[in-house]
């Protein structure tokens, strides 16, 4: 093995992969949530549909998309690798444990939270990305502006199914917990810790963990209410 593969396969190397991919995915979430704010624009989905068109065709975005996908995959693979090491490190469990005495619930359950989010991710990609790419999403004609796929209508109709919306909202709660620990933890793992800025990072992390999933959750709520009205 080269020095690099050795470094990356050490426990700290694996943690480095987890943290750096995690941070990249946090940036991705920020981009994703910002773009999707267009769903709230009162223009019948025009801006959103052009944005979707851009996201599926722009070469730069395609590169970013590959990076995002790679981050997801590495994040998942390395979490499995780390979990295997961690399980092996304690073959016999304690009879009595009081985990609440010294840890936060999300910190202890990143694996479970991550697994749930992974399941959600598959559903989410199937519902939207797959449909957009390979499904028969109808086109909408905006005259001079051009003719693009009408993802907006797909989103609106999907989120008018009440149980689907509820599923999304619940999933965002899990995402919030995952981010609650993951955000600050990534900085700790990367060694970015200092009395001066760590308190700010932690606060930013908690804010991110609440606001981003909340905004995502607002989208199904928005369309659900709209469909009822």
């Amino acid at each position: 093995m080269s020095w690099f593969t050795k470094a990356i396969s050490s426990s700290l190397g694996k943690k480095f992969v987890m943290a750096s991919t995690g941070l990249f995915l946090i940036i991705f979430l920020l981009g994703h949530v910002s773009g999707n704010l267009l769903l709230f624009k009162d223009d019948g989905g025009q801006a959103y549909n052009f944005y979707a068109e851009f996201m599926t065709t722009s070469p730069i975005v395609q590169v970013l998309r590959i990076l995002t996908a790679a981050s997801f995959i590495l994040h998942i693979i390395y979490s499995i690798l780390l979990t295997r090491i961690n399980r092996k490190a304690r073959p016999v469990e304690y009879k009595v444990t009081k985990p609440g005495a010294n840890t936060e619930w999300p910190a202890r359950n990143m694996g479970i939270l991550g697994t749930i989010i992974f399941v959600f991710l598959v559903i989410h990609l199937r519902t939207f990305l797959y449909e957009m790419k390979f499904g028969d999403v109808a086109y909408v004609d905006y005259g001079d502006l051009g003719r693009v796929k009408d993802l907006y209508t797909l989103v609106a109709s999907t989120f008018s199914i009440w149980w689907y919306s509820i599923l999304y909202i619940v999933m965002m709660v899990f995402l919030a917990f995952h981010l609650w620990h993951g955000f600050k933890s990534a900085f700790q793992t990367l060694g970015m810790k200092h009395r001066k800025y760590t308190p700010a990072i932690e606060k930013a992390g908690y804010a991110f963990a609440i606001i981003v999933p909340a905004v995502f959750a607002a989208m199904p709520i928005f369309f659900l209410i709209k469909s009822l009205g």
Binding site: W3, K6, A7, S10, S11, L12, G13, K14, K15, F16, L82, I85, N86, K88, A89, R90, P91, V92, E93, Y94, K95, V96, T97, K98, P99, A101, N102, T103, E104, A107, R108, M110, H181, K184, S185, Q188, T189, L190, G191, M192, K193
Partner: protein, 251 residues
């Protein structure tokens, strides 16, 4: 007070262990936890039974020998307190107390509550030192060190190597122990020459011993009887990544 004790009994590394329940009475709240076990052991010996084996020595919280997992907590319910400093006034009459050994594949059980922590020694042997021979060193005051740095180094150096961090961690990770030593020497000018090789070797040995990785839950630091901070782990990570990127070591 009267208590019921659920204690892990295991004859040796190769045999299977099990919990055994003991009732014990007339325990004074002034007793230390280990003295309570002494009382139990005296009673067991009087009955001709093998006493409960546990590691202990200084009984003032500094040697790091004692290692009891008491009611689901490393060193018991009080923070910044080793099992030997825990007193029975922290418990109430009629309590049921479960006592387990540290659980980690790197700390095999030797007998009952006694585990083998030789892994910690091997990690220090991998690089937890400054390579100076006796004699031929400069005058102590030729190496000025800022008070702040010296105090930080002390805070890391105060680790007693009891293994509570490993025991408390859901992953049985030894990061807090290793990072405390890495930090102490990374902070001090004396440690600069071997700074990169030290962290590389110590982390490699830590991995080889079969400890888990860090999830940054912070349990280690909270259960640490001397309060070693998680900052040390962040510093070790930084040291490690920087060493891997810049050291001359191609291995």
């Amino acid at each position: 007070m009267n208590l019921t004790l659920d204690i892990w009994r295991q004859k040796n590394t190769d045999t299977k262990g099990a919990f055994k329940t003991y009732a014990i009475s007339n325990i004074s709240e002034d007793m230390s936890f280990l003295e309570m076990l002494d009382v139990l052991n005296e009673q067991l010996v009087e009955k001709g039974e093998d006493p409960v084996h546990f590691d202990h020595d200084c009984r003032e919280g500094i040697c790091g020998s004692c290692n009891l997992f008491i009611n689901g907590r490393a060193h018991g319910p009080n923070i910044k307190t080793a099992a030997c400093q825990l007193h029975m006034r922290s418990f109430s009459d009629g309590d049921n107390i479960t006592i387990e050994p540290w659980r980690a594949s790197a700390f095999p059980v030797i007998k009952d509550l006694v585990v083998n922590r030789g892994a910690f020694d091997r990690i220090i042997q991998a690089g937890g030192y400054v390579s100076v021979n006796t004699g031929g060193v400069p005058d102590a005051n030729e190496i000025p060190i800022s008070k702040v740095k010296a105090d930080q180094a002390f805070d890391s150096a105060t680790c007693i190597a009891c293994g509570a961090c490993v025991a408390a961690c859901k992953n049985a990770s030894a990061m807090l122990f290793v990072s405390a030593k890495v930090s102490q020497l990374a902070l001090l000018p004396q440690g600069q020459v071997e700074r990169k090789t030290r962290v590389e070797r110590m982390v490699a040995q830590m991995d080889a011993e079969g400890f888990g990785a860090c999830t940054n839950t912070g349990a280690c630091s909270i259960e640490c009887p001397v309060g070693i901070s998680q900052d040390n782990i962040a510093r070790m990570n930084r040291e490690y990544y920087s060493a891997k990127a810049k050291s001359d070591n191609l291995e």
